[in-house]
């Protein structure tokens, strides 16, 4: 079960950090950008940068999150770098989260599920387009838009559904109160908990997780209690303003229950710390591990 595998890696490395490879050309050091004048060049430079980051931090963290928007902006060429990054991260033993926030009606969702969590029939073969362990999805369409991902994943691949997002406007819809007394994010959370029922693993968490922003600790506290079998992907730490104290509400008494993403704080650490980008990324990872450890203590399955 994929969430068990993720949790075991978190315990082994004593680190619930996910490195966000939201790699845009403008995040790269000058010397890696020299001479880039088309999408092919951009894709090559970005993959070279990602490889450097991965080699530098793979022993420290359990997972990476790769944000597809940053690759899609460089066309099909950029998406080659996206795929190469997924493949290389898996070769380094990391759990790979494709952050694509996909959503559609059932027939179309099943194509997305094949692309990220399964294989696509092509002639007599079946081929994996963008091999990932987890995919982020948006549940606005309800159960029949989510079921294809759960079915394709069979517990061996998982999803994280947007519940309470980290951005400033997230409350405009998500915090509205329904007639039945629940907020919209609580309602979405209840659906997520239900969608995961059949895939709960040995640590008590299912393969259907939730995105819960570090920037909203009160909502995180409510959701952690309300969704006992739902593992959280927690964006918003660092650049977006979330601190270790704020996101402690995303975790259970064992220090489990969530994984915290940091993108720019690691990728662009060299601008703050100086030195090479890969060494600076490693230092930033170590600092974040310490920061989380001070709040969560030892992570232990009991």
């Amino acid at each position: 079960m994929i969430t068990d595998v993720l949790i075991e890696k978190i315990i082994e490395k004593q680190n619930p950090t996910c490195v966000g490879l939201d790699t845009s050309l403008d995040y790269l050091p000058e010397e890696l950008r020299v001479g880039v004048s088309d999408f092919t060049g951009a894709a090559k430079a970005i993959f070279a940068f990602n490889r450097g980051i991965l080699e530098s931090v793979a022993d420290l963290v359990p997972a990476v999150k790769v944000q597809i928007a940053y690759y899609e902006q460089y066309g099909a060429e950029g998406l080659c770098a996206f795929r190469d990054t997924l493949v290389y991260a898996r070769e380094k033993g990391l759990i790979v989260i494709a952050d694509a926030k996909r959503n559609d009606i059932g027939a179309t969702a099943s194509r997305y599920a094949a692309a990220f969590l399964g294989k696509t029939p092509t002639g007599d073969r079946e081929i994996s387009a963008f091999p990932s362990d987890f995919l982020t999805v948006n549940g606005y369409l309800g159960t029949d838009g989510i079921a294809p991902f759960v079915q394709e994943g069979k517990g061996d691949r998982g999803i994280f559904v947007l519940v309470k997002t980290s951005n400033p406007s997230s409350g405009e819809l998500q915090n509205l109160r329904l007639e039945d007394g629940r907020t919209v994010y609580e309602c979405m959370g209840d659906m997520v908990e239900a969608w995961g029922t059949d895939t709960v693993g040995s640590y008590g968490y299912s393969s259907v997780g939730a995105v819960v922003g570090a920037t909203y600790p009160e909502e995180a506290k409510i959701l952690r209690t309300r969704l006992p079998h739902t593992f959280f992907l927690v964006p918003g730490y660092g650049a977006q303003g979330g601190s270790a104290e704020m996101l402690s509400n995303c975790f259970d008494g064992r220090g489990l229950g969530g994984i915290v993403n940091n993108s720019r704080g690691i990728l662009c650490a060299y601008r703050k710390l100086g030195g090479s980008f890969d060494e600076a990324a490693r230092k930033a990872c170590l600092a974040m591990k310490e920061d989380l450890h001070a709040v969560l203590g030892e992570i232990c399955a009991k």
Copy 2:
């Protein structure tokens, strides 16, 4: 203003039909699939099929909607066919809707906006990744996740935001009632109407449209009255069960206010009607035009 251009094409062709190029390898006639054994082959076959469809129907319809999931399942190679299809459809004078339902926090949404509605800075140049006139988006994250698309589009490119989707489960969240008496889909609709305020064109519709399923005529009726400046993209006709009568609620007294998508009913018409796929697609387009005309009458800007 892009919605004005779309409306002028609808009036000129007297046809509010959008051909959905949700082209999967398994939709192609046997002879186009022979020998395909990898993503490159699949992408070539799919683009050849799309070109045939476009050549056959371009004079009949104002727009096409290209569903990216069907291309993404064939990896970066499939996305080359996606891009080639967008470019070719525009060469044929058609308005191009990229159906990708993108959504993210502001910083990331701006990358998606560049990819589909703008250009990406790459070295000293700016390059268009997936040039489209409209992009479908999901508004669950609220205003700061939508603003980058509106800003990038400047009214010359537009978006369609999911409001009431056509799938069976869409009511699970969308039809819940809020404490203030509105349903979630009405609330989303109100946000869409507000997001479009600054781009209302000469026919009274803005560049920020809404996706409203043909399968829910009661909700469509409520939304048509409630959102007077919001143009509707209407999926669900044909294969999903929506009829011309059901979707008449999406239109105003001039026969304007919406465009109706049909994907499988046109792409796979050859399986029902016999003959070549492109001729069958043309017949299906003509039949749909007649079907809509019987309900809407002459489309006229008054």
